[in-house]
């Protein structure tokens, strides 16, 4: 059970959160202008690194805010937590 530091509520059990997949995947400005392949990449393609990964979480059982986490997928170490709209911080 991870202890995830919600940027608003502080550290809470993982069970209070929903996972939102890879962060920084923006909804395309003009979907109609995209090729089928580009649209399919937006819909279905995500990174799956071993190591630090920027991902989205929502504190659904708490303040209901979405935020971003840089988590090492191999060790579960959380390197950074930052709010939506903020750039991904530089982490070790």
């Amino acid at each position: 059970m991870l202890l995830i530091p919600c940027p608003w509520c502080g550290p809470r059990d993982e069970a209070e959160f929903h996972y939102g997949g890879q962060a920084h995947i923006a909804y395309p400005d003009n979907p109609a202008a995209l090729s089928d392949e580009e649209w399919a990449r937006y819909l279905f393609f995500r990174d799956n690194p071993k190591g630090p990964f920027a991902e989205r979480w929502s504190h659904t059982a708490g303040c209901r805010r979405w935020f971003n986490v840089v988590r090492d997928t191999a060790t579960n170490e959380i390197h950074a937590v930052y709010r939506v709209g903020e750039p991904r911080p530089v982490t070790a």
């Binding site: 929903h18 923006a26 909804y27 109609a32 089928d36 649209w39 937006y42 659904t60 979405w66 939506v84």
Partner: protein
């Protein structure tokens, strides 16, 4: 004491009566079942799982591999180790052949769980653990000290060592009592820490009343799961002694030397009368001497080394104990139990058979690194110890005392205190300038151990009785066979032989197994490594894991404000997510089919009402609310007029239907959105996700009001007249209150919002009131007796007759609005909405997509099972059978006078009029494909 022939003189305590394998015995308070059996001279306690060999008590704690028992009374509990079952009056138990039997009656005991938080969690109340906890606790930290045994002391319980001049176990008891008196300290006795997870989330199981037997108070939870979040963890988990592989090392009478010492000192029991000791290290000497001093004849000590520590040799000489250095035990001999021991010099030399009823073995000690490893720590092989010890760890965890390889009592105390100081500093407390530990006796200088794992057998021996895993009956022969088959990883050998997979998880045997594999491969055990340590450290009952989440508390039961009425009026309930919804209301003598047909008729021909309160409801407020809903729904919402209502469908970005419901415009900047019952939370999350992550510029806020409102659906051609009577202030005629509009009025004296919407095709109203008044409204609707209450089954039939899909029943995340025959709800005007781009993908315009259609079985009495597949041919071809689709909904219709179904069928709309077949059991049921709208397709009935 005549009834306990192996009990030491002078042992005191209350006598307890128990029964084992059908015989009555007596033991003493403080005994375990194992010590009581030993006191009574019971040697064979259980039999082994594969070979059926007799097995006796081997250890004195949770590491016990042999003595598996089942408690029969007061309540059946299988697969316990006799060494951890505390004796109580009236205990009835039997020895097990490797596996037990579950109780066949419900467990009457209570079980629970609790969350706890601390600055420092110390696992293990031995010398190191107590020292660590003492330092942290006295500085004011919140400390939890957990230990699996009834009393603190750990290794001190089994020895005669002194601290500050008094017996070590007395020091431990006094020190722990003093710590426990501090306000922020919690001592958990009889508590096994079984799992160590991310971010120092630690699970422990406390056995609270198990040891009281039938006297356990019913209101106290029998076992409790502790969910501990610790800022820092000190693992003072000590060590387990291991044995050596030689012939017959499983015979009753063979026992770990440290365990024998514990039986003599702590339990006041003699595990035998005449013992041979076989050791690779100094630790067994202390055991041998304690046994000798208690009156056990030590026939000989076979030490694999050329010399033990000098002090030990001298002490043996003082007592006249024969010391055979450079010797090994080649076999334990006897029929059913040890009667003699064969000892031989290493290399060449004459073997001797020494009569003995007890063979003490020490192959060295292995630090208990399970939790450290579970927590993500690495292990490294320590040559001196001949075992793996903790290495690096990322978490705020450290091992202390023997758990990290410190071998002396004085060293463990000092190590624990240092760990306590580091924990304090890490948790942000001031570290005291000095910490003191109790004074321990001078310990004899130790001679190095020699790590002997396997006693070579004569050439004709197949190693078939050299056990490496007693509980799994795995022998050296099995390991050699595995290696011979080409397996070179200890993980593979584990799976091939099952070594280490038993209920003891190889606590005494894991390293031995690795060492024998290494020996067979000709590599170093440190190089080969260990198998992975996983939770739980010791077995846990399912009841403890379930806690109070069982029966009516297994999962939340959500109910509406009207629930009590439904119960009182005999409703049968259906689970919809966590909701209990009335399914149908049978009258006396009615089965479900009769009740539903009657309820359907009432709704189509008369007037009926349903509790619709479970629908999700969300207030969407803000100047950009209309823009937001336009992006969310496939159809246009911004053109909706205040006072009006529109049905809408939401898709995911992939174009698949996600939810549907109505949108009510309350004001220019205020909408009330309804969702399906099961998706209320998901839709709100969906809205927040888009608003927060993609469209933060939109000035919109969403608030759940699902339970603010109770809703009664009033349905049927006579619904207007019933509403008119309940709401005299409301103009209900069709012009004043047209379809898809809402009004505010008092209904039965209650302020209400009434929506003219219909999920049945009939004239219908949904009356919304504050949920505080939900019951009052429902009772008012029912008061005249003319309104038939109906449940979800009737609701489903009515909507299916009209071809209205239910999201999640007729859709499964692979269905577009177009597949449902709802092209009309997909806006062509809007530049974009979620899902729009996907409708231009090749996949969503494939001509062979499954489409929603109706099915009429050719026999109008045949009800198709939901989920039934559909095929083209009247007989099944050879598999794989191509399937065209499947039935999603299937009912008996009062209005149609027959059965019907909805189905998703490939090219379904092209097939209208075709005959297909549904394989049901051995039969192929012929059906005709029709439009999915089977009742009132022209919509003539909605205005009454």
């Amino acid at each position: 004491m005549s009834g306990q022939p192996y009990r030491r003189e002078g042992a005191t305590g209350k006598t307890l009566r128990f029964r084992f394998d059908g015989r009555d015995y007596e033991g003493l308070e403080g005994d375990t079942l194992a010590s009581a059996l030993l006191a009574n001279g019971v040697r064979a306690v259980a039999s082994s799982i594969k070979l059926g060999r007799p097995r006796g008590v081997y250890a004195a704690g949770c590491e016990e591999p042999n003595a598996l028992v089942q408690i029969e009374e007061p309540f059946p509990e299988p697969m316990l180790t006799a060494t951890t079952v505390e004796l109580y009056d009236g205990l009835v138990a039997t020895g097990l052949p490797g596996q037990g039997r579950l109780a066949d009656r419900p467990d009457p005991a209570r079980y629970d769980a609790v969350h706890a938080h601390c600055d420092v969690l110390v696992v293990g109340a031995g010398p190191a653990g107590i020292a660590a906890a003492g330092v942290a606790a006295r500085a004011g930290a919140r400390v939890i000290l957990a230990d699996e045994r009834p009393a603190p002391g750990g290794s001190l319980l089994g020895t005669t060592e002194t601290l500050d001049g008094r017996p070590g176990h007395e020091w431990a008891a006094a020190e722990v009592a003093a710590l426990e008196a501090l306000p922020e300290v919690r001592v958990l006795r009889r508590t096994s820490v079984i799992g160590h997870y991310d971010d120092n989330y630690v699970i422990a199981v406390e056995r609270r009343t198990n040891h009281l037997g039938a006297a356990a108070p019913a209101h106290v939870a029998r076992e409790r799961v502790w969910r501990i979040r610790a800022k820092r963890v000190v693992l003072a988990t000590g060590g387990h002694e291991r044995f050596v592989a030689f012939a017959g090392n499983d015979l009753p009478g063979v026992m770990l030397a440290g365990a024998a010492r514990t039986y003599v000192n702590h339990y006041r029991v003699l595990p035998g009368r005449r013992a041979v000791v076989f050791t690779t290290n100094d630790s067994a000497y202390a055991a041998a001497l304690d046994l000798a001093d208690a009156g056990v004849e030590i026939a000989a000590i076979a030490d694999v080394r050329q010399a033990p520590g000098e002090t030990w040799a001298a002490r043996c000489a003082e007592r006249g104990i024969e010391l055979l250095t450079g010797h090994v035990v080649t076999a334990a001999l006897g029929e059913g139990e040890v009667s003699s021991v064969r000892v031989a010099p290493r290399g060449d030399g004459q073997a001797r058979e020494i009569p003995a009823d007890l063979l003490l073995v020490s192959g060295g000690w292995t630090p208990v690194v399970h939790l450290f490893s579970q927590a993500g720590g690495t292990l490294r092989y320590d040559e001196g110890l001949g075992a793996f010890v903790p290495g690096e760890i990322r978490q705020a965890v450290e091992a202390a005392g023997f758990a990290r390889g410190v071998t002396t009592l004085r060293g463990c105390l000092e190590d624990g205190a240092q760990a306590g100081r580091r924990a304090l500093a890490a948790a942000g407390f001031a570290v005291p300038s000095e910490t003191s530990v109790p004074a321990a006796e001078e310990e004899p200088a130790a001679a190095p151990a020699e790590h002997l794992w396997l006693v070579e057998a004569p050439g004709d021996d197949d190693y078939g009785a050299h056990f490496v895993d007693l509980q799994r009956d795995v022998t050296v022969a099995d390991v050699l066979r595995a290696v011979g088959a080409g397996l070179s990883s200890v993980e593979h050998v584990k799976r091939y032989t099952t070594a280490g997979t038993a209920h003891d998880q190889g606590k005494t045997s894991g390293l031995l197994t690795s060492a024998v594999v290494a020996h067979a491969l000709g590599v170093d055990v440190g190089e080969l490594g260990t198998t992975t340590f996983r939770a739980p450290y010791t077995p846990v009952s399912f009841a403890a894991l379930a806690g109070r989440d069982r029966g009516h508390l297994h999962d939340p039961i959500r109910v509406t404000a009207m629930h009590e009425w439904h119960v009182a009026h005999g409703a049968r309930f259906e689970n919809v997510g966590q909701w209990k919804r009335p399914w149908y209301y049978p009258r006396p003598g009615e089965d479900m089919e009769a009740a539903v047909l009657r309820e359907c008729r009432a709704a189509r021909e008369d007037v009926a009402a349903m509790d619709a309160s479970t629908l999700g409801k969300i207030d969407v407020v803000g100047p950009d609310a209309a823009v937001f809903l336009d992006r969310l729904y496939t159809n246009m919402m911004s053109t909706l007029k205040v006072g009006s209502i529109r049905y809408g469908v939401m898709c995911r970005a992939d174009g698949m239907v996600f939810d549907d419901g109505t949108v009510i415009r309350l004001a220019d900047d205020r909408f009330l959105v309804t969702t399906t019952t099961g998706n209320a939370a998901a839709v709100l999350d969906w809205m927040e996700e888009w608003l927060q992550t993609e469209w933060p510029d939109l000035r919109v806020s969403c608030t759940s009001v699902t339970e603010q409102w109770a809703t009664v659906a009033l349905v049927g051609p006579r619904s207007r007249e019933v509403l008119a009577r309940l709401a005299p202030g409301l103009a209900v005629d069709n012009d004043s209150f047209p379809f898809m509009t809402w009004r505010e009025a008092e209904v039965a004296g209650i302020p209400a919002r009434i929506c003219r919407i219909s999920f049945s095709g009939e004239l219908a109203y949904e009356i919304n009131v504050s949920s505080w008044y939900g019951l009052a409204l429902w009772e008012a609707v029912m008061a005249s007796g003319e309104v038939t209450p109906y449940g979800t089954e009737t609701m489903h039939v009515l909507r299916a007759e009209k071809g209205y899909p239910i999201v999640g029943q007729d859709t499964d995340g692979t269905v577009t609005p177009q597949d449902l025959g709802m092209e009309w709800i997909v806006s062509k005007k809007k530049a974009d909405f979620i899902g729009k781009r996907s409708f231009a993908r090749a996949d969503t315009s494939r001509p062979d997509r499954k489409q929603l259609v109706g099915l009429l079985p050719e026999d109008p009495g045949v009800l198709l099972p939901e989920g039934a597949h559909l095929v083209e041919t009247s007989s099944l071809p050879e598999p794989p059978v191509p399937t065209l689709g499947f039935v999603t909904s299937s009912y008996r219709s009062a209005a149609l006078g027959r059965t019907f179904a909805l189905a998703l069928v490939s090219r379904g709309r092209e097939r209208i009029g075709e005959r297909l077949y549904a394989p049901v059991g051995a039969e192929l049921v012929p059906v005709t494909v029709t439009s999915h709208v089977l009742y009132d397709p022209e919509g003539a009935r909605r205005d009454g």
